[in-house]
Symmetry: C2
Subunit: 348 residues, 2 copies
Amino acid sequence: MVRLVDVAKRCGVSVATVSKALSDKKDIGEETKEKIRKVCEEMGYFPNSSARTLKIKRSYNLGVLFVAEDDSGLTHDYFSHVLESFRMEAEASGYDITFIYSGQSPDGESLNAPVALRSMSYLERAEYRGVDGVLVACANYYQPEVMELISSNLPVVTIDHSFDHCSSVVSDNVRGMSDLIEFIYDRGHRKIAFIYGNNTSVTQNRIASYYRSLEERGIDPPDQYVRSAVYRNPKPSYDITLELLDLKNSPTCIIYPDDYACIGGLNAIKERGYRIPEDISVAGYDGVYISQILEPRLTTLRQNTEEIGRKAARKLISQVENPKTAIIEKIIVPGRLLEGGSVGILRS
Amino acid sequence: MVRLVDVAKRCGVSVATVSKALSDKKDIGEETKEKIRKVCEEMGYFPNSSARTLKIKRSYNLGVLFVAEDDSGLTHDYFSHVLESFRMEAEASGYDITFIYSGQSPDGESLNAPVALRSMSYLERAEYRGVDGVLVACANYYQPEVMELISSNLPVVTIDHSFDHCSSVVSDNVRGMSDLIEFIYDRGHRKIAFIYGNNTSVTQNRIASYYRSLEERGIDPPDQYVRSAVYRNPKPSYDITLELLDLKNSPTCIIYPDDYACIGGLNAIKERGYRIPEDISVAGYDGVYISQILEPRLTTLRQNTEEIGRKAARKLISQVENPKTAIIEKIIVPGRLLEGGSVGILRS
DNA sequence: CAGTGTAACGAAAACGTTTAAGATATGTCA
DNA sequence: TGACATATCTTAAACGTTTTCGTTACACTG
């Protein structure tokens, strides 16, 4: 590793001069700067981020806290897309990304681990690594550890959940659901069931929007039409779909918690020998890749994960760089309806 | 942030003593150690990783280089599972994870970025952040930048590609393909087509194993049965499937590059009005989640992503911690055949 | 009692930066 | 010409650790 002192020697100046030249301070002569830059290039100099972080207390490193409900972690379709986009935007601004997790090893037995690495909380971990800010994407925002992090004075941006003391980027679930209902209603459906996922604010918004959108159209769905299932899990949706199909007054369209759960429904429907969309219509949510390569393509609401990730990165970075002036706000990102072919036109 | 000097004052000892007590050196008295540990706990002391890294030149941080062919990055199903498992294992050993990427921002215009952040190569980035080792999972291992990293003296473990000067963890594609062929053959199929993906060593191994497994059974597949498509892309597989179905001597079973591509095939088959597995059989590869919730479940070869990620982490960490004695090796991880229901029994 | 060994701790340098404060030379102005 | 401002560079302290090398006190040995 070539250090400041190496290029200083080569240039015949002090390390301070080199340091200041590189950060373009105005008390260094222009031709000196030029020469230093040239030599740095030649020697392949790069600053040592640890030394730099230690001194200026800015690491240009962002933490990412990712705890999905089912431990799916990175493999979660929605979150991984958000993260990828977040990563790219952060990258473009010169930030690196480090995962944050509590260091509670199974046995506390990390033999070679750094000194005193008893389990840390998320916040402690973030401080230990000196990250400048943290992106929190997490199913259960009310864990004490998560709350501690969010309530700290570290810049934090949350995804799909809002607190009043930190910024958030949320997918517009209210609008998403109403778009879906509108589309389905316009195709003649009146008996629309909704199977929803785990209890989160996302789910609550979708349920509220479902009821409101129907109400606006003079529809009061029976209780049996609104059922609880599990995100990304086809089995509960499969079971409930069978029950819905067996109702005396069965729905003509079923909305699922997400595209994966929807596939459980598809299987139930096929099993009963019904065709989609001729005999019954279905709609998913998320618009994951798979939903658009199935036949028929799913009618679903694609959440704009790129935009969510990008805006989250921008917001977080702006908070890091302008701690005084950055505004705490809730950024709502609309999705887009993918028509697919799983919702049929109903005439009767 | 509470520092060493803070707990030193509180304990009435020097910082050196505290530092040594925490790393359990033998030249500190037992009761002193006990007291220091207690005070650290009370005050919530954690070391500053930057200072520590700067001094000891070990960051307890691992880099991850992820470049998929199609820029899917983290959203790549196979890699994201490997990474998740890698992360968990690293976490259990007290290591954090940071993404490595070249810092070439679109315009080189990261105004607030650290000093002199012109674009760095992967290696430079890794050195800049001081990571102890790097996991490389990447489609194109022959990019100069990737080669530079792999050829450096930084500990590196590669996934699904082997070089003789660094360790690798690879999925057993030879065995995987032969297991698949064996299963299909045993169910009576003799006309087995193989649509393969992009040209990588993984693909080459599968192709070779396909030919060899058939040869062992006295089968010499016609050239039209072995076709080139694209990983994770249903369209080419769709097109080729139609062509295969239209052959005079059409196959009774088609093996696809992966489960996603297989879905393209499924659509083609449905379009022709054939049933699976009654009229034609199909097999995927990977065993992704979606493949097991479709109806019929895909017959596919599940790659053991957890094991691959875990072994990669163990290997990398062992190389980091025992630079002298760690063995450079190629670790081969077998997959497991998932029977599914997409390969039927052929009698004639 | 002089010498030696050992246990327990501290002083200080070092890691590679940044930056406040100081130093030097040069130009400007009254 | 002396005072002062300005431009350019250097010195040195600081960031929070780790670790080498002392130092001190004490016990033991012959």
